[in-house]
Symmetry: C2
Subunit: 208 residues, 2 copies
């Protein structure tokens, strides 16, 4: 039996550096980045199946009804969601899947897929978080303040996660996440459900 | 505040390779190996404070009554035990402590110090385990069989541990344990008790 892959949910406040960390994880590991489905139109340069799966409103609705989303949300009349079947298909091949997602989304995924590994990315400091939000440059002072206050409040949600990783440097944060993956593969709680059960151990099947 | 060290309890059946793995961990990391106290006489070449703390029967009894052992056992009229105060003193300096111990001992430590990380070392296979026990050479066929059967039964106790690490190679097993330590430092459950509490987060103290 091939060992199932792990679903890594990389989440945290806007500006904490989720995206950069996920990129680093992808470069050093054979992990698959979960691609969202959306009903909005592709923008310039966006590739179907890479940036998003672009699907019709009708198909999205049908898949909601079939329960085929780990989470979904409607934003300005368009749907965005994480297709469950795609994620499961990859996990079954033994590959790990990274899901980069905001906090609201991550909490929904936790309900639908509690065996995922929920990692909260913390900015090195609140000052740093403010700078990162400012450095994006595309915000008005008001929306900047709103974003900052929202990120500040969101940090309380860390208690719903399994792990908290401070993003001091991208390399160090990615290294910690790689260690988390190695450790999770050794967790007895996780092994109990798959490889090791008392019956098999007693009859020595584990060691055949 | 200095972050407290972690207590790593490395345990498993006789012949699984606990000792070699602990040695490898000590060589690559700044970890402190817990030294047991005993009432037995030092053997040739044994150093006090390195191999054992050699103490009198009276002192051992007094320390049992003070609750100063994470675990202790009497073997052929001599006491052996893990001094709690020594372990705690080192943990308080921020260093991690390795405790290499048999399964019975580990389960007692778990009662006394549940915040430890309990790692069960599994032999690569039961055949390998048999070979390792045979290779020690100091056993009669009967005691060998007893040891093997006991190791075989003991493997069921893996379910009481946090992690199971298969000892395919010493290097790979040590690497996994190092990853477990890194991951445990990121666990929200562990952070909750020390650094992160909602109050501090709400008032931004975490980030001052």
């Amino acid at each position: 039996m091939k060992e199932r892959g792990l679903l890594l949910v990389i989440s945290g406040p806007s500006g904490a550096g989720k995206g950069t960390i996920c990129k680093a994880l992808m470069e050093n590991n054979t992990m698959w980045l979960s691609v969202s489905a959306t009903t909005r139109q592709p923008r310039n340069g966006e590739l179907p199946g890479k940036n998003y799966f672009f699907i019709s409103h009708e198909e999205f609705q049908a898949r909601i009804e079939k329960g085929d989303f780990l989470e979904y949300a409607e934003v300005y009349g368009n749907y965005y969601g994480t297709p469950k079947s795609n994620v499961i298909d990859i996990l079954e091949t033994g590959k790990d899947v990274i899901l980069e997602i905001d906090i609201q989304g991550a909490l929904k995924v936790k309900d639908a897929f509690p065996e995922g590994i929920f990692i909260f990315i913390l900015p090195p400091s609140m000052e740093e978080l403010k700078q990162r939000i400012i450095n994006r440059g595309s915000e008005t002072p008001e929306s900047l303040m709103t974003r900052f206050m929202s990120a500040y409040k969101e940090i309380n949600f860390v208690s719903k996660y399994n792990y908290a990783v401070v993003n001091d440097t991208v390399e160090a944060a990615a290294k910690k996440i790689e260690s988390i993956v190695i450790a999770e593969r050794c967790r007895v709680d996780r092994l109990k459900d798959t490889l090791i059960n008392k019956e098999e151990l007693t009859h020595g099947k584990l060691y055949d």
